[in-house]
């Protein structure tokens, strides 16, 4: 079982052991990935298009075989186990709901082909349809359903098999924004109520952050960071993750000096910056350092901020209004563009800053991220 921090105990339900997948010798879709997923986890594989998420998922399902490495389910090596013999089920991106069968037949299919007694099937099908709020839809044909309903049929069809693990490949990408948000909550509710391990593939960071309790961020076939959503956001391990999860302002930096335990950096556009005690001890040796800060941690002021805050004076280039928040784009002395996100708290239609204005931008030192590579 997972605790709140996403730490695990006992045997993982899925262990991916240095798995590599090459296509045709030249394309390395998955590159030495090792992961362990605990029973009951809601796990997300997140990454940009083409980073190998689907390939990894298809290897777990058994539709591709690893070029190298092993995949274990419940401690059993799956190398020579065909897809129809694995205790896992998949919800396909296209849903793949059989068009020539009714909804009930679709859901019953996986039970029928594995010899579940007829007397048991009807009840379980009805139960699974209820679970996804499709009770009474059994007699319909898939072409009489909306996209969202079809997806729920695919979910019911997989869940009725009571798999150890449910794989979902971009399950929400075909839905519109409103429905997608509703289904995100729905999936979390479902996962909690059935207690099955979910592994979801997505390229939408907000989807992964809001649903999963652990996320593996992938880039070009490798896992760049494996952490809980909050950890990924607040403590990204590298530039790629910092940039991919949310927005971030980056300042190139190099170590200027060490001063009794705290690091002093020379930061482009900011000058000398003293980091809080202990920060950057691990990264100090690296050449390509960057100082990063999230847009919502920045504050805009007309007066020079108090000296303990880090900051610079810049010029407002653009203001973008999004309703609950606005983004202000500044340029610093070095000519970098910096994004600042501000909450529109008062009910005012006047922007709080105007284009061309010079303002101070600052943040608390502990909100600084130091990134290597």
């Amino acid at each position: 079982m997972t605790d709140l921090q996403g730490r695990r105990a006992g045997q993982p339900v899925i262990a991916i052991d240095t798995v590599t997948k090459r296509f045709g010798g030249s394309v390395t879709a998955v590159d030495r990935v090792s992961l362990e997923i605990a029973p009951g986890e809601f796990f997300a594989l997140l990454g940009p298009s083409g980073c190998g998420k689907t390939t990894l998922l298809r290897m777990i399902a058994g539709f591709e075989s690893p070029t190298d490495g092993r995949i274990l389910i419940d401690g059993q090596d799956m190398s020579h186990v065909s897809p129809n013999k694995r205790p896992i089920n998949m919800v396909f991106q296209s849903y793949a709901v059989f068009p020539h069968m009714t909804v009930a037949k679709n859901v019953a299919y996986g039970l029928k082909v594995t010899g579940v007694p007829q007397s048991e099937i009807a009840g379980r099908v009805e139960e699974a349809l209820e679970l996804v709020h499709l009770g009474g839809y059994g007699a319909r044909k898939p072409d009489q359903l909306s996209g969202g309903q079809r997806q729920r049929v695919a979910l019911a069809r997989a869940l009725v098999k009571r798999p150890k693990v449910l794989l979902l490949d971009e399950p929400l990408s075909a839905l519109d924004a409103k429905l997608r948000e509703a289904m995100q909550l729905e999936l979390v509710r479902l996962q909690e109520s059935v207690g099955i391990t979910f592994i979801i593939v997505t390229h939408d960071q907000s989807e992964a952050l809001s649903m999963a309790n652990r996320i593996a961020v992938m880039e070009r076939g490798s896992v760049r960071q494996l952490a809980s959503p909050a950890d990924l956001y607040e403590n990204p391990a590298n530039r790629f993750v910092a940039d991919f999860i949310g927005k971030v302002n980056l300042f190139e930096a190099r170590v200027a000096s060490r001063d009794n335990g705290s690091l002093v950096l020379h930061v482009q556009g900011l000058g000398e910056v003293r980091l809080p005690q202990g920060m950057g001890a691990a990264e100090a040796g690296r050449a390509d350092l960057a100082l990063a800060v999230r847009p919502e941690k920045l504050r805009l002021e007309r007066e020079r901020p108090s000296p303990e805050r880090l900051g610079f004076e810049g010029q407002v280039q653009q203001v973008a209004y999004y309703g609950e928040t606005s983004s202000v784009f500044l340029t610093d002395q070095a000519g970098h563009s910096i994004a600042v996100s501000i909450q529109n708290e008062g009910r005012s239609t006047q922007p709080m800053v105007t284009v061309g204005e010079r303002v101070w931008c600052s943040w608390a030192p502990e909100d600084t991220l130091l990134l290597a590579d």
Binding site: N84, K85, M90, A96, F98, Q144
Partner: protein, 308 residues
């Protein structure tokens, strides 16, 4: 389409030549043959349309009726064999890599590059009593016989006194073999098109849900390819039913199909009116089969629409 109709002159200019062609070279000859089928020979070269139904009545006589039944049977068996052989071929082509796919498709279409007559003579060469198959079997017989002699069982004549060639021509086998050989590409191509269109994730979903390969084949692949299968049946069955050359050459006059009898009416028997009547019966049969198919398809479409 709409915009064409608003420009009747342009529409006419485009539609007229093909319409003219169709009327002159298809409908007019067809009409003439249709009139013949209600005619009588009054002398060797003259046919008078007397609106007699005698020719159609003669078509119902037992030997002609048997001939129709046999033609349907031969074409039906050939179509079935084509489906059973063609489906795995189409499946293999669909699942092969893109490079292989184009070569395999070329292999399927290759026979079209050679004249049917030449291909049929090649089949004669293969199936004949001194053909390649019997040659190979004869060689095997020699080898087996020699082997038995060596191990001292020669005088028992276990393999018979001497090699008797298989009869592969002049019987149903030869004709069906030839019909299948000619029609197979026509079966494979629509099946291939249907399988190629099919979303691979349906097959994967079936496997994922625990179904085996065979189960997936019968419960998912075949139903989803059903429209392609129906097209394949029609496009195989109709030309096969009207085959002339294959039964003529491979049947050796022993296995006639309807087209052979029609040909005889127009040639040696010089009974054009009867030949015309037989031709039209074949045409009506084909027409009804097609009509039934589109009616069925139409009803299915309507049912789907009503269910909404």
């Amino acid at each position: 389409m709409e915009s064409w109709r608003r420009n009747p002159l342009v529409f006419a200019a485009i539609a007229l030549p093909p319409a003219f062609w169709l009327v002159l070279f298809f409908l007019v000859p067809l009409g003439i043959v249709w009139l013949y089928s209600f005619g009588e020979n009054i002398d060797l070269v003259t046919i008078e349309t007397t609106w007699t139904l005698e020719n159609y009545r003669r078509a119902g006589e037992p030997e002609i009726f048997t001939l129709f039944v046999r033609s349907l049977w031969l074409a039906g068996v050939a179509t079935l064999v084509c489906l059973v052989v063609g489906f795995p071929i189409a499946l293999v082509i669909t699942t092969s890599s893109p490079k292989w796919k184009s070569w395999l498709l070329l292999l399927i279409i290759l026979p079209f590059w050679t004249n049917l007559l030449i291909r049929t003579y090649a089949l004669l060469n293969i199936l004949g009593s001194r053909g390649r198959i019997n040659e190979a079997l004869g060689w095997l017989w020699e080898m087996g016989d020699g082997f038995l002699t060596i191990i001292g069982l020669g005088q028992l004549n276990l393999l018979g006194e001497r090699f008797t060639p298989l009869t592969l021509l002049g019987n149903n086998f030869g004709v069906i073999f030839g019909l299948v050989y000619v029609a197979l590409p026509f079966t494979v191509l629509p099946l291939y098109a249907a399988l190629e269109r099919m979303d691979r994730s349906y097959i994967e979903a079936s496997l994922d849900l625990g179904a085996g390969q065979l189960r997936t084949f019968f419960s998912v692949i075949i139903p989803l390819a059903s429209s392609g299968i129906v097209s394949a049946i029609i496009i195989t069955f109709i030309p096969t039913l009207g085959s002339f050359l294959t039964p003529d050459l491979l049947g050796r006059g022993q296995v006639d199909m309807i087209a052979n009898v029609i040909e005889r009416q127009f040639k040696s028997a010089n009974d054009w009116p009867f030949g015309a009547a037989l031709s039209f019966i074949l045409l009506y049969a084909t027409f009804f089969a097609l009509a039934a198919r589109s009616l069925l398809a139409g009803r299915r479409g309507r049912e789907d629409a009503e269910a909404f």
